[in-house]
C-alpha cells in the first residue's frame, strides 16, 4: 500500500447522491403498510431490527431474571429460596436461552440490518429467507418458552447429556420442549447463515473487492459458515435424541448397543464452535469500532482476517476439551489440549492488531470505545483462564466447577456482551437518527464493568475451593459463603442497575435523543454515507468503492471508471418497476448481474408455521398432524418460489445488457440461485456426514455388528436400486443439454425419465427396507440403519419433488434456452442425492460385511 493520509476529523465525509427517483425507489422497497405488511414484510431493516429486539427480549427473560434468582439462592449457605427443581430449571433455562435465543438472533439482526449498508447494496439475496429465519427463531423461542405454561420446564442442563435427558430418566415432555423448540430456532439460524454468506460474497458495491471488505463483513462470513457446519450436526443430534424419546430408538441406550457419549460428541461438535460463533462477530464489531475512535486505520487488516478464518477452522478441532473427564485415552487428551491452546495464536494476532491500532491512534472517549476497552480487559482474562482449562490435569480439577463458570462468563460477557453494547451505542444513531446519551452510557459501562468483575472474579476462587457447578445450595462449613455473597452483590448492586440504565437510555433516546447526522462518529465505512435512518432501499445510486475506508479516503462516492459510473447512474433510473439489486464477482467486485430480489410474500410465514407445526405435532404426539404440516411446508415452498412473469420483455433486458455489459435477470438471479443450491447441498451433506459419523461411532462401540439375531442385509435389491439411481443421475444432464439447445421435447422426456428412474429406485429400495426383519427400536444397529436409510430417502424424495415441479413447468414451456437456471440447480441437487444414496446405502449394506 502506498502512502495514505490520516483520516480526517469527524465530519460527514463524501456525499451520497439522492436523485429524483429516490422516493420512488424508497416506496418500491418498502413493505406494505399495516398488519399485512408486518406478516409479509421482507425489508432488511425491519427484519434485522426485529431479530435484535427478539434477542434482547429473550436476554432479559432468560439471561437476567434467571441469573438474579440463582444468585439470590446462592447468596448465603443452605438457603431455601427456591426448590431444587426450580434451581435446576433456572440454570437449564439460563444456559439454553443465552446460547440459542439471545446472542445468535442479536448478531443475525446486526448482520441483516447492517450488511446492505456496509456492503453498499440495496438488499440481501433472499429477503424471503430472511423473513423465514425470523419467524422460525421467534416461533422456536416461543415454543421452547411455552413449556413454562405447562409446568414442564426442561431441567437437564443446557447440554442435556444422555442418558439423563433420555426417555428413562426424563420421562415427561419437558425435554421435548427443549429439543423441539430449539430445533425450530436452529432451522432459522441456518437459514439466516445462508442469506449472510451469499450476501457478503456476491452482493457488494462495485469495487469493494475482498481486500476492501469491511472486517465486520468478514467476521459475519466466518460466523455464517460456522453456523452451517456446527448447527447441522446439532440438528442431527437432536433428531436422534427425539427419536429415542418419542419413537423408542436406542441411540443413547447402553443396554441396547447405544452409547452415552455419542450425544456428547455430537453436542460439542456444535457446542464448542458455538462459543466462537458468538465471539467471531463480536470481534468483528471491535475491529470496526477501534479504528473509528482511535482515528487510525486498523493495523494488520489482512492478519486479522486470517485470524478470523483460522479461528473458524480451529474451533471445529477442539470439541473434546469439554470431555476431558469422560475417560478418553491420553493421546486423544493431548491432541485436544494442544488444539485448544493453539487458538491463542489467532487470538493473539487479533489482540496485537487492536493494541497496535490503539498505540498509533488517538482515543476519542465515547461510549463505544469504553465498551471496547472493557472488552479487551475482561476478555484477556477469560482467554488466559481458557489456556489454563486446556491443560488437562488442571482442567480435571477445574472442570464442572465454578472456575469454569467464571472463565466462561469472562469470555462471553467480556468477549461478546461488551462488543454487543459497543455495537448498539455505535450503530444506534444510524437506525434511529438519534444519539444515545453519553452520560448514561458512561454509567452503563462502569456499572457493568465493575459488576462483571465483582460477580465473576470470586467464582474462580470458590471453584478451586471445590464448589461444583449446578448445585442449588452448599453447607456453611465449606467456607464458600463470602465468595458467593460477593457474586450476588455484584449482580444486584452493579449489573442489574447497569442493564436498567441501558434500557432507560434506549427508551429515552428514542423519544428525545440528540439528532444524529449521517456520520456522527466520523466513521470510515459505507453505512455512514446514508441518511440516518436510512431509506428503505438504502442506496439510490450505488457507491463505487476504491478504498477500504471509503468515507475517509474518497472524496466522491459515485466516481470510478466511466463504464461503472454509467452503470450505477443507470440503475438509479431503471428499472423502477421491480426491486433491482446487483451481483458482483466474488474477488474483483465487478458487476456480473442485475437481478430481481423477492418482494413481500406471506409464504415465508406459512412455511415457518408449517415447520413449527411439525415440531408441535411431535411434541403432543399427534403424529398425523406431521403429515399435514409437511404438506403445508411443501406447498409454501412451491408458492414461495412460484415463477413470476418478468415485469418486462427479454428485449428490454437485452438492451440494458448491451448498454452496460452486465446480465439482467428480472426473473430471478442465476448466480444467487446457484449459490443457494450449493449451500443447500452443503447443508444436506453435513447432516448426512453427522449421521455417518454416528453410524461409525456406534459401530466402534459394538464389537458385534450386526448384533446377534440380525443377519447381514441382502445386496441384490439395493444394488439394482443404486444402479437405477445412478442412471437417472446421468439422464438429468441429458435433459439439461436438451433445453440448452432448445429441444423442448427431449428436455421434457429427459426430466420425466429421471423422475421415473428415481421413483423406481426409491420403491425398490424402500420395499427392501420396509420388509427388513428388524425395526428401528431393536438395538442401536436397527436404529441407525433405519434412520440413515430414511434420511437418504427424504433427500431423494425432496429431489423428486423438485424434478416433478420442474417437469410441470417444463410442460408449460417455462424454461427456455435463456432461462433454465432452475433446472441446472435441480440437476446439481439430484447429483448430490445420488452420491448420498451411494454412500449411505453403501455403508448400510456393505458395512456389516467389512469385519
Amino acid at each position: 500500500m502506498s502512502a495514505v493520509a490520516e483520516p480526517p476529523p469527524p465530519g460527514p465525509g463524501p456525499k451520497v447522491e439522492e436523485p429524483l427517483t429516490h422516493e420512488e425507489l424508497n416506496a418500491l422497497f418498502a413493505d406494505p403498510p399495516g398488519l399485512w405488511g408486518q406478516l409479509t414484510g421482507v425489508q432488511n431493516d425491519k427484519l434485522g431490527a426485529r431479530l435484535l429486539f427478539t434477542g434482547f427480549f429473550f436476554l432479559l427473560l432468560g439471561g437476567s431474571v434467571d441469573s438474579v434468582v440463582m444468585r439470590l439462592q446462592l447468596a448465603i449457605a443452605e438457603n431455601s429460596l427456591v426448590s431444587p427443581e426450580t434451581y435446576n430449571e433456572l440454570f437449564t433455562n439460563h444456559g439454553t436461552v443465552v446460547m440459542f435465543l439471545v446472542i445468535l438472533p442479536i448478531f443475525e439482526g446486526f448482520a441483516i440490518l447492517l450488511l446492505p449498508l456496509i456492503l453498499g447494496t440495496r438488499e440481501l439475496p433472499f429477503p424471503r429467507l430472511g423473513a423465514f429465519s425470523y419467524w422460525t427463531v421467534l416461533f422456536g423461542g416461543l415454543l421452547y418458552y411455552s413449556s413454562t405454561l405447562f409446568q414442564l420446564v426442561p431441567d437437564a442442563g443446557w447440554f442435556a447429556y444422555t442418558p439423563l435427558s433420555g426417555p428413562t430418566y426424563s420421562p415427561d415432555l419437558a425435554l421435548d420442549f427443549w429439543v423441539l423448540g430449539l430445533g425450530v430456532a436452529e432451522v432459522g439460524a441456518i437459514a439466516a447463515a445462508i442469506e449472510i454468506i451469499i450476501g457478503v460474497l456476491k452482493m457488494r458495491a462495485p469495487g469493494m473487492t475482498l481486500s476492501r471488505l469491511p472486517i465486520f463483513a468478514w467476521a459475519l462470513l466466518v460466523f455464517s459458515f460456522m453456523i452451517l457446519f456446527a448447527f447441522t450436526p446439532l440438528i442431527i443430534g437432536s433428531l436422534l435424541l427425539e427419536l429415542d424419546r418419542g419413537f423408542g430408538t436406542q441411540f443413547f441406550n447402553p443396554a441396547q448397543g447405544g452409547s452415552s457419549l455419542l450425544w456428547q460428541h455430537l453436542f460439542w461438535i456444535f457446542g464448542h464452535p458455538e462459543v466462537y460463533i458468538q465471539f467471531v462477530p463480536a470481534s468483528g464489531v471491535v475491529s470496526m469500532i477501534i479504528p473509528v475512535f482511535m482515528r487510525k486505520r486498523l493495523v494488520g487488516y489482512t492478519w486479522l482476517v486470517g485470524a478470523l478464518v483460522a479461528i473458524g477452522f480451529l474451533s471445529f478441532g477442539l470439541w473434546a476439551h469439554h470431555m476431558f473427564a469422560v475417560g478418553l485415552p491420553p493421546l486423544v487428551l493431548s491432541f485436544f489440549a494442544a488444539a485448544s491452546m493453539l487458538i491463542a495464536v489467532p487470538a493473539g494476532v487479533q489482540f496485537v492488531g487492536w493494541l497496535s491500532t490503539i498505540w498509533a491512534g488517538r482515543a476519542q472517549w465515547k461510549t463505544p470505545l469504553l465498551f471496547v476497552v472493557g472488552f479487551l480487559v475482561i476478555f484477556v482474562i477469560g482467554g488466559i483462564t481458557g489456556v489454563m482449562v486446556a491443560a488437562v490435569p488442571f482442567d480435571l480439577q477445574a472442570h464442572d466447577s465454578f472456575f469454569v463458570v467464571a472463565h466462561m462468563h469472562y469470555v462471553l460477557i467480556g468477549g461478546v456482551a461488551f462488543p454487543i453494547f459497543a455495537g448498539v451505542y455505535y450503530w444506534f444513531p444510524k437506525f434511529t437518527g438519534k444519539m444515545l446519551d453519553e452520560r448514561l452510557g458512561r454509567w452503563n459501562f462502569w456499572l457493568l464493568f465493575v459488576g462483571v468483575n465483582v460477580t465473576f472474579f470470586p467464582m474462580h476462587i470458590v471453584g478451586l475451593l471445590g464448589m461444583p457447578r449446578r448445585v442449588y445450595t452448599y453447607s456453611d462449613d465449606l467456607g464458600w459463603g463470602p465468595y458467593n455473597l460477593a457474586s450476588t452483590i455484584g449482580v444486584l448492586a452493579f449489573i442489574v442497575p447497569g442493564i436498567a440504565v441501558f434500557i432507560w437510555n434506549v427508551l429515552r433516546s428514542m423519544r428525545r435523543g440528540e439528532r444524529a447526522g449521517n456520520n456522527p462518529w466520523g466513521g470510515d465505512t459505507l453505512e455512514w454515507a446514508t441518511s440516518s435512518p436510512p431509506a428503505e432501499h438504502g442506496w439510490s445510486v450505488l457507491p463505487i468503492v476504491t478504498s477500504r475506508h471509503p468515507m475517509w479516503d474518497q472524496t466522491e462516492l459515485h466516481k470510478g471508471d466511466e463504464r461503472l459510473e454509467r452503470f450505477v447512474q443507470a440503475l438509479a433510473q431503471w428499472p423502477l418497476r421491480w426491486r433491482a439489486a446487483v451481483i458482483v464477482g466474488t474477488a474483483d467486485a465487478r458487476p456480473q448481474e442485475v437481478f430481481r430480489v423477492a418482494h413481500p410474500s406471506i409464504w415465508p410465514l406459512v412455511a415457518a408455521c408449517g415447520v413449527v407445526l411439525i415440531f408441535i405435532a411431535e411434541l403432543i404426539k399427534l403424529r398425523w398432524i406431521i403429515a399435514v404440516a409437511v404438506v403445508t411446508v411443501v406447498v409454501a415452498l412451491i408458492g414461495w418460489n412460484w415463477p413470476e412473469d418478468p415485469p418486462m420483455s427479454v428485449e428490454e433486458e437485452e438492451a440494458f445488457e448491451r448498454e452496460h455489459g452486465v446480465a439482467v435477470n428480472a426473473g430471478g438471479s442465476v448466480v444467487v440461485a446457484t449459490w443457494g443450491m450449493g449451500l443447500a447441498i452443503l447443508f444436506v451433506g453435513i447432516a448426512f456426514s453427522a449421521l455417518l459419523l454416528s453410524y461409525f461411532y456406534l459401530r466402534l462401540e459394538n464389537p458385534i455388528w450386526p448384533p446377534p439375531g440380525i443377519d447381514e442385509p441382502g445386496l441384490a435389491r439395493a444394488a439394482v436400486a443404486a444402479a437405477l439411481l445412478a442412471v437417472s443421475g446421468r439422464v438429468v444432464y441429458v435433459a439439461l443439454r436438451r433445453v440448452r439447445i432448445g429441444d423442448q421435447t427431449g428436455f421434457v422426456m429427459g426430466l420425466i425419465g429421471t423422475l421415473v428412474l428415481g421413483l423406481g429406485a426409491f420403491l425398490l429400495q424402500f420395499r427392501d427396507i420396509l420388509t427388513m426383519e428388524f425395526g428401528a427400536t431393536q438395538h442401536a444397529y436397527g436404529s441407525i440403519f433405519h434412520t440413515l436409510a430414511w434420511f437418504v430417502g427424504v433427500v431423494t424424495v425432496g429431489g423428486m419433488v423438485m424434478l416433478a415441479t420442474a417437469a410441470y413447468w417444463a410442460v408449460r414451456g417455462q424454461y427456455t434456452v435463456r432461462r433454465h437456471a432452475t433446472v441446472a440447480n435441480i440437476a446439481r441437487f439430484w447429483t448430490a442425492a445420488v452420491v448420498i444414496w451411494a454412500a449411505g446405502f453403501g455403508t448400510l449394506y456393505l458395512g456389516p460385511y467389512l469385519t
Binding site: V4, A5, E6, P8, E85, N88, A156, G157, Y161, L164, Y169, P254, S260, R295, V299, G300, A307, A325, V326, G327, P329, P330, S334, A337, M341, A344, V345, G348, V349, F351, V352, G353, S356, W359, R362, L376, V380, I384, T385, V387, M388, A390, A391, V392, P393, F394, D395, L396, Q397, A398, H399, D400, L464, L465, G466, P468, R469, R470, V471, E701
Partner: protein, 315 residues
C-alpha cells in the same frame, strides 16, 4: 491468602499436587501476559501525543509487522509450548491403569448415592470410602443409571462414571484426612446432595476399618430391635430395596445397610448420622432430600421406634 487454602491447590496426594504445580506455573505465565497487555493498552491509550488535531497529509505505511509476528504469533506460541510441555509432564503423573499393589475399589454411581465395593476384601458399602495413606488406590468407576463424576479436589482431578464403561481413576493420599467426594456431573434433581466421605487413614486404622466392615450383621439382642428387624424384613418393608448381610434382605436397589449405624452421614452426605437425623430420615427422607427414591414408610410410631432400634444395632 485464602487462595492458598483452596482445596484443589492444597494437595494431599501426588495427583492433586501435579495439577496444583501446573496451576501455579500457568498463573505466573498468565499474570505476565496480562501485565504486558495492560502496559501496552494503558500507554497506548493515555500517553501524551504532540498536538491535538490529527495530522493531515501523507503518512508512511504501518510498521507493525514485527509486532504482529512477535506479539501475535511468537509470544502465544512460546507460552503455550511451555504450558503444553508442563501439561504432558503432569499428565504422566496421572496413571490411567492400576499400578501393581494398588487397592482396588469399585464405585458405582446411582441417582443420588455411591455404591462402594472392595472386591479383594469382600466389602460392599455405600456413601463411605476409606483408603490407606501411602498406597495407590485404583477406583473402578461406573454408573447404574446416568453419568456422574467422582471428585475429591484434595486428592486429584475428577473422572466420570459412565453407564457403559468402566473408567479407572488412580489416586493416592499422602496424609490422613477426611474429604468430601461430591458428584461433579449434573445427574438430576438431587445432584447437589450426592456426596460421600472419603477417609484417608494410616494402614493399621484402615485394616481395622476393613475388618469392622467384613462381618455380617449380628443377631440383635434387645426385644425392640428384634421387632424392628421384622419391620425391616416384612413385606413392603425396607428389605424391598436394601440389603443387610446375614439376613434375608438382599435387594440391591438402595444402599447396603449392614453397618449403617457406624457411618458418618446419611443420604449420601446429606446430613450427619445422628439418632435424630436418622429418625427424621427414616420417617420421611423427603424432608431432607426431596425426590429421593426412598418413600416415607407407612408404619406406626411404635414400629418406627423399633425400626430405629434395629438400625442402631447395625454397627
Amino acid at each position: 491468602m485464602t487462595l492458598l487454602l483452596a482445596q484443589a491447590l492444597d494437595p494431599e496426594g501426588p495427583v492433586a499436587e501435579s495439577a496444583a504445580g501446573l496451576w501455579w506455573l500457568m498463573l505466573a505465565l498468565g499474570a505476565g501476559v496480562f501485565v504486558i497487555f495492560a502496559v501496552f493498552l494503558g500507554v497506548g491509550l493515555f500517553r501524551a501525543r504532540p498536538g491535538d488535531a490529527p495530522e493531515a497529509g501523507p503518512q508512511p505505511p504501518d510498521r507493525f509487522g514485527p509486532w504482529l509476528v512477535g506479539g501475535g504469533v511468537a509470544l502465544p506460541l512460546v507460552v503455550i509450548a511451555i504450558v503444553f510441555a508442563a501439561t504432558v509432564h503432569a499428565m504422566r503423573d496421572v496413571p490411567t491403569r492400576a499400578p501393581a499393589g494398588a487397592l482396588v475399589v469399585e464405585v458405582v454411581g446411582h441417582q443420588w448415592w455411591w455404591e462402594v465395593r472392595y472386591p479383594a476384601e469382600g466389602i460392599t458399602t455405600a456413601n463411605e470410602m476409606h483408603i490407606p495413606v501411602g498406597r495407590s488406590v485404583a477406583l473402578q468407576l461406573t454408573s447404574a443409571d446416568v453419568i456422574h463424576s467422582f471428585w475429591v479436589p484434595a486428592l486429584g482431578g475428577k473422572l466420570d462414571l459412565l453407564p457403559d464403561k468402566v473408567n479407572t481413576l488412580v489416586l493416592e493420599a499422602d496424609e490422613p484426612g477426611r474429604h468430601l467426594n461430591r458428584c461433579a456431573e449434573f445427574c438430576g434433581l438431587q445432584h447437589t446432595l450426592m456426596g460421600m466421605d472419603v477417609v484417608a487413614e494410616r494402614p493399621d486404622a484402615f485394616a481395622a476399618w476393613v475388618s469392622s466392615r467384613q462381618p455380617a450383621a449380628a443377631e440383635p439382642a434387645a426385644p425392640d430391635a428384634l421387632r424392628g428387624r421384622d419391620v425391616f424384613l416384612g413385606a413392603g418393608g425396607c428389605a424391598s430395596c436394601h440389603s443387610v448381610r446375614g439376613t434375608s434382605a438382599t435387594a440391591t436397589t438402595g444402599p447396603e445397610l449392614t453397618h449403617v449405624a457406624s457411618r458418618a452421614s446419611l443420604g449420601a452426605a446429606a446430613v450427619p448420622n445422628t439418632p435424630d437425623e436418622l429418625a427424621r430420615w427414616v420417617s420421611d427422607p423427603h424432608t431432607i432430600k426431596r425426590g429421593v427414591a426412598m418413600p416415607a414408610p407407612e408404619i406406626s410410631g411404635e414400629q418406627l421406634a423399633d425400626l430405629l432400634a434395629y438400625l442402631g444395632t447395625l454397627r
